[in-house]
Point group: C2
Chain length 554, copies 2
């Protein structure tokens, strides 16, 4: 089989006007970036929620064997198109960090891809660069304010706003900057996060328009004064210039699948320290103009989907009509105790041993959040019928169907069964429920997520976390939802505990506030907000020929 | 009179296809970025030098009174269009640093502007973001290589490659990064320069195509081993990925003046530590498709125009057919000893006292470089006929005409006289000469620039500079041209010495090599490669309304 980039480069793309026309979007409502990419002006296109159906694609707890959420989202939309439905995908933009690090591209794979994949994986329409610049303009204005007399009285030791770069660069994690002479700033500890982890990204993903964006940016907390009072972006008068930098980034980007299904690629990843989904604006635009919108949430359903329910659906006026839980037989075997090199041969017992992980995610989606659920098996050639049958049996009594999908090798034609089941589910009634109430204290919210979603016994707050959460309560932020940053590799806080562990507590070590985005982040263990490059970065294999053809992305 | 941004926003722009058609560029040769910006594919458009005429706009030594080189370049092109010529402008892209710092926009002013000015001044087509990413990918791969076993044996104390950001941010000038735990990199001194100062910018400006770009990037020197050997980008295998990031940035951007004259805005500023001009590719594309191409060089003619002759014209196969030296009566009075608040009233003596500065630049252009010269007076309402007449008399015996231009308030109609004189000059024969030969030693090259251009007595090399220049000679780089980084405010190395000082030496304190760009930088005094923000940055006045209208750029 050809590589992803070879398949993508052989694709015969349709002009972006033709893709837009499938959603009744006209050329005067868009700005073209070349022939196959456009930004859609939300002020000229209907952007109302709940006209079309919304399908959330999530997954079992990730393993090194892989699940294929993005690929399944794309394949499902192509499958819906194949059976005559007006479908669109609404997914997140790739970050340059993983592209040059280990993973290569992030626009699907095989015959379920979004194109033009080189552009999407490299600069695309510049949204992430705009977010980087916005994040760093805030930082530069903040440090210039400290340097030039410090009118806000911001304590340089209590600055919480970090700089951002869209790169895997561990060298920038921790630094002392502002050193040199008196003219060279104020010496303090600082560091860079990868741009997708910036609160500006979360703000952009949740903003409903320029005014809302500007207000949210103004509310961002930079740090604290010597008297322990928060200092916000509005105090350094940066929100207007920052919003100007983000004006075009707020407009959803339209591209296409290999089969010509419209795809909105907008907003950034990071479903641990942020909610990590497609933007509210793009999702609503898609729901207004397509009958079925397929979106995805990051990591396993305990992290990404939990945040999609408790944060995104609560803030925006839309909620999923159906949830697809993606699993692979290979990954279930890993949850059943097998290693990565032991997955080739049939092993029904290992699949059975791994199923409790899947079942717990299904229970959460159905019971905790009130969703209609289907399990999609992202098929590998090594899967056997006996293994799939074991899975079917296990979830049958919950009324959940299991559908095998072969979109990776067959495109939309391999996902028509999944599409039919999704259509059926979207017509079933459902009402969203939440893991906690906004009126609960911040402490109770964390406790409820642990008990109702992770299925642990309770929470152990560190003194630091307890002190900070109490401070946020005292400052009046107690009604915000909570965003748990935790390893995505386990229901517990120990990445090595696969399957569906019981009898554990979650240790919460730290907390921070994203006052612009509107949630409190609680952190279990150390969260990597700046990845590093390995010994042989993927970048060493990426190249461009004199005619402009790029190779080495995958 | 309306502000620049008000004039720009009231402009009725022509579709970019119509602008391209004026240069016989067809829609299949371009990628549109919205309706009024396009990237032109140099592989599909003739990009040969010396078909059309090339006009270089330069200026007297800058003063706080201002000269208006960019405004004059735009007005002249509009003037040429007005008298029936097929003209285009080829200028540099603005940097976000000054936009948010003090100066606001950088796309002309008054009725001599390039539009859409908000887009050009903010992210434009993302070229500068791409250069930032390329610069920092090199840095991340270099530090990852040091971290992961250091196979190139690069001495962390001798790293010369710095990171880049397109922002005025003094806090990032000097830092110690790589601190924390063992997994967080290797502690070393580092810092950020503004992106326009990155060697990647210089490389992009000089590259003839993707292969040339990749070779130049591979030759960039990162630093030195413990054994004093240079380590290049090709040794960390970064050039392919870096060139992939720059693939689209290498394509010239086409926009328009307020009067619909085509403008190529491509490449970055910094005419001190780099050559600081429009890209070679864009200039050649313009010369292939327009009869008159107007380009500009940064700062005064001793810095920008010297580099245009000795570096750009030598590397590329084009040379100016005429040189416009821009002056203002106000600035001449400052060279004559007046202060900024003393320029309103007629003062022929002050003009006469300042004229030696202009005359020295004219002599350099005519005698040292062999150019045909016209003086353009960028007219202010306070100029008097007696003041202009003093100027005319002074340069008449050198065969140089003086033309008053009022493009700032009148657009192209205010620059038709200048256009006529430029047309006349372009038909006069001229042959470029250089300030030095490539075979001269690096020391002799600097000496010749000082004597033949600045008109000083000689050079005083510091021990450090002498040692480095000798090292570059020993490493085989002795045949490269020399790029002098020096204050632009004086012919001397003392910013306060205006006019045409005599009897001085230039102190050269340091040197560095841009092996990818292909020149040696020698540095006089401390050069600011990372500006800072003042007490009230321009950014505090920039805003965007809910309908997307941006205000506060100027």
């Amino acid at each position: 089989m050809a590589t992803d980039i070879e398949i993508a480069q052989q694709a015969k793309m349709q002009p972006i006007e033709d893709i837009a026309a499938k959603l009744d979007i006209t050329p005067d409502q868009m700005e073209r970036y070349g022939d196959y990419i456009a930004k859609i002006d939300y002020s000229k296109v209907e952007t109302e929620a709940n006209k079309g159906k919304l399908v959330l694609v999530t997954a079992i707890t990730p393993t090194p064997a892989g699940e294929g959420k993005t690929t399944t989202s794309i394949g499902l939309a192509d499958g819906l198109t194949k059976i005559g439905k007006k479908a669109a995908v609404a997914i997140r933009e790739p970050s340059l960090g993983p592209v040059f690090g280990v993973k290569g591209g992030a626009a699907g794979g095989g015959y379920a891809q979004v194109v033009p994949m080189e552009n999407i994986n490299l600069h695309f329409t510049g949204d992430i660069h705009a977010i980087t610049a916005a994040n760093n303009l805030i930082a530069a204005m903040m440090d210039a304010s400290i340097h030039n007399g410090n009118p806000t009285n911001l304590d340089p030791r209590r600055v919480e706003w970090r700089r951002a770069i869209d790169m895997n660069d561990r060298q920038l994690r921790n630094m002392v900057n502002g050193i040199g002479n008196r003219a060279d700033g104020v010496p303090r500890e600082d560091g860079f996060d990868i741009t997708a982890a910036s609160e500006v990204m979360a703000v952009l993903c949740l903003a409903e328009g320029v005014d809302d964006l500007k207000e949210r940016i103004g509310r961002i907390i930079l740090g604290y004064t010597y008297e322990n009072e928060p200092v916000t972006v509005s105090e350094i008068k940066a929100e207007g210039a920052v919003a100007s930098l983000l004006r075009d980034a707020l407009k959803p980007n339209l591209v296409q699948t290999l089969e010509g299904t419209p795809v909105f690629v907008h907003g950034g990843p990071f479903a641990n320290i942020a909610h990590g989904t497609n933007t509210t604006i793009a999702t609503k635009m898609s729901m207004s103009n397509a009958d079925y919108t397929i979106t995805e949430a990051g990591f396993g359903a305990d992290l990404g989907a939990e945040k999609y329910m408790d944060i995104v659906s609560r803030f925006a006026d839309f909620e999923p009509d159906a949830v697809v839980v993606v699993a692979t037989i290979r990954a279930l075997k890993m949850h059943g105790g097998k290693e990565l090199d032991e997955l080739k041969d049939e092993d029904v017992d290992a699949v059975r041993a791994g199923l409790p992980n899947l079942v717990r995610h299904i229970e959460n989606m159905q019971d905790t959040f009130g969703m209609n659920v289907v399990v999609a098996i992202n098929t590998f050639p090594t899967d056997t019928e006996a293994e799939v049958e074991a899975l079917r049996e296990e979830v049958a009594d919950r009324g959940v169907n299991v559908v095998q999908a072969t979109h990776f090798s067959d495109g939309g034609a391999g996902a028509t069964d999944l599409a039919e089941e999704v259509v059926r589910l979207c017509d079933e009634p459902s009402t969203i429920k939440y893991a906690y109430d906004l009126e609960d204290s911040l402490f109770d919210k964390v406790e409820k997520i642990v008990k109702n979603v992770y299925r642990g016994d309770g929470v152990e707050f560190s003194t630091k976390a307890r002190r900070k959460l109490q401070q946020y309560e005292d400052l009046g932020y107690g009604n915000m939802p909570v965003c748990v940053a935790k390893t995505q590799m386990s229901f517990t806080d120990d990445a090595k505990r696969k399957g569906a562990p019981e009898g554990f507590e979650i240790a919460i070590d730290d907390a921070s506030i994203s006052a612009g985005a509107g949630f409190i982040v609680v952190q279990s263990g150390s969260i990597m907000k700046m990845p590093g490059l390995g010994k042989t970065p993927a970048a060493t294999k990426i190249d461009v020929a004199n005619d402009g053809t790029i190779s080495g992305l995958f």
